[in-house]
């Protein structure tokens, strides 16, 4: 059976309904050419996504933060005068060049940002690559990988830079965890395969804003990805802790 490119692309992106997904998965098992085409879609997605992800961790130009706070038009409306000045986010200020921002303005801005966002910038600054391409897949890295490995959803305070949502197992025993990144209002689902956390879906978080608990709720795309993979119920607090302590072993507890 041959499948058109749009179908294979939708499969690679996790956009097919469960019946269709299972059908294609079975066809891929039989046909290496189909598997190769799906892998190509995934690799291109990983390449494009990784290329632009570096923009997230770049120093934020002062003019953009000022514009967001409604100050741009008042002081320097001529486009040329807005250019060039770069400011580091709070928490990364030690490397920042001197700017026209006075301490009072910094304080006002710091107070206006959610504490969680501040902590995120600080923690993420040394290692901005949270998702990296590896052998045609996207895998979690840095602070995201650490949180997926160790953090318990049941013991979060809500101010962590990475918030873990649901933890569950797939039919073949693999563990998957949904997460959200507060500072970039991004949510996703990662599954533990061969020692990596493969990021199977990322999406804009359903709710962004100052309420960190809301930020943990998965977006429709992530929910869809969970529904397509979950076998049984999500793990409770004890199950989650047990899974972590046994190293996310897909064979654990299976006969």
């Amino acid at each position: 059976m041959n499948y058109d490119d749009e179908t294979l692309m939708s499969y690679a992106d996790g956009e097919l309904d469960e019946a269709r997904r299972a059908e294609i998965a079975a066809a891929i098992e039989r046909d290496p050419e189909l598997a190769r085409r799906v892998a190509k879609h995934r690799a291109l997605r990983a390449e494009v996504s990784a290329a632009f992800s570096s923009v997230l961790s770049r120093p934020m130009p002062e003019r953009l933060v000022r514009a967001a706070q409604g100050e741009a038009g008042k002081n320097d409306s001529a486009p040329a005068s807005r250019r060039g000045t770069v400011v580091q986010f709070p928490g990364r200020a030690s490397r920042a060049p001197a700017t026209s921002w006075r301490a009072r303005e910094w304080t006002a801005m710091a107070a206006s940002l959610a504490l969680g966002a501040l902590i995120s910038w600080k923690l993420f600054a040394p290692d901005p690559a949270l998702i990296i391409p590896k052998a045609g897949e996207l895998v979690a890295s840095g602070a995201l990988a650490t949180a997926l490995d160790r953090q318990l959803g049941s013991k979060q305070t809500g101010s962590e830079p990475v918030l873990i949502g649901l933890t569950f197992r797939t039919q073949d025993g693999h563990y998957c965890r949904s997460y959200s990144l507060a500072h970039v209002a991004t949510a996703g689902l990662a599954c533990r395969v061969g020692g990596d956390w493969r990021v199977v879906t990322t999406a804009a978080a359903a709710n962004e804003g100052s309420d960190v608990h809301q930020a943990a709720s998965p977006s429709p795309a992530v929910l869809h990805a969970i529904e397509a993979r979950i076998s049984g119920d999500a793990l409770d607090a004890a199950g989650e802790e047990n899974a972590r302590n046994t190293g996310w072993n897909p064979e654990y507890g299976r006969r």
Partner: protein, 164 residues
């Protein structure tokens, strides 16, 4: 500044990194991307009463950026008929920020895509939206979005030199 304005300002600051990334995926270089981002931020503040509380704030901002980008391209097209673009030569396509060769190569390849395919690729592959979310934002049926995305990917893969 009222407290409502401060609140929307904070929400915008929270999604600025993502807005910049979306803008970067639509623009030739980081400078143009930041100009677009600033325009969108100012437009959002001016029109904040149009945002319906409870709707997806990021989605609303992305919609403003999509419209602003299309407007800007139309305007540049008209200007180009009578004169050189105003910033011609002032900002080369490759800036020091783009020393990241992967970003440069993918950005160049994206720049060759037709507008509608570039938007589809940017929203789904770069911003991680579902097809449904991207289709709603672009105000097209899911089938149309899927077809633009597939054609955009084929062209991107070719431009990046991937084997067919």
């Amino acid at each position: 500044m009222t407290s409502v304005a401060e609140e929307i300002g904070d929400r915008i600051v929270g999604i600025l990194p993502r807005l910049r990334r979306f803008a970067r995926s639509l623009s030739r270089n980081q400078h143009d991307a930041d100009d677009l981002t600033q325009l969108v931020v100012e437009r959002a503040l001016r029109n904040q009463e149009q945002f319906r509380e409870g709707a997806n704030f990021a989605g609303w901002m992305y919609g403003i950026m999509k419209n602003a980008w299309i407007d800007d391209r139309r305007a540049r097209g008209r200007r180009a008929e009578v004169a050189l673009p105003e910033d011609s030569g002032e900002h080369p396509a490759v800036t020091p920020d783009d020393a990241n060769t992967s970003l440069w190569a993918v950005s160049e390849a994206m720049g060759k895509l037709p507008e509608e395919q570039r938007l589809a690729v940017a929203l789904v592959l770069v911003e991680g939206m579902s097809y449904k979310e991207a289709a709603a934002l672009l105000e097209v049926p899911i089938g149309t979005l899927t077809s633009r995305l597939a054609r955009g990917r084929t062209a991107l893969a070719a431009a990046l030199g991937d084997p067919p």
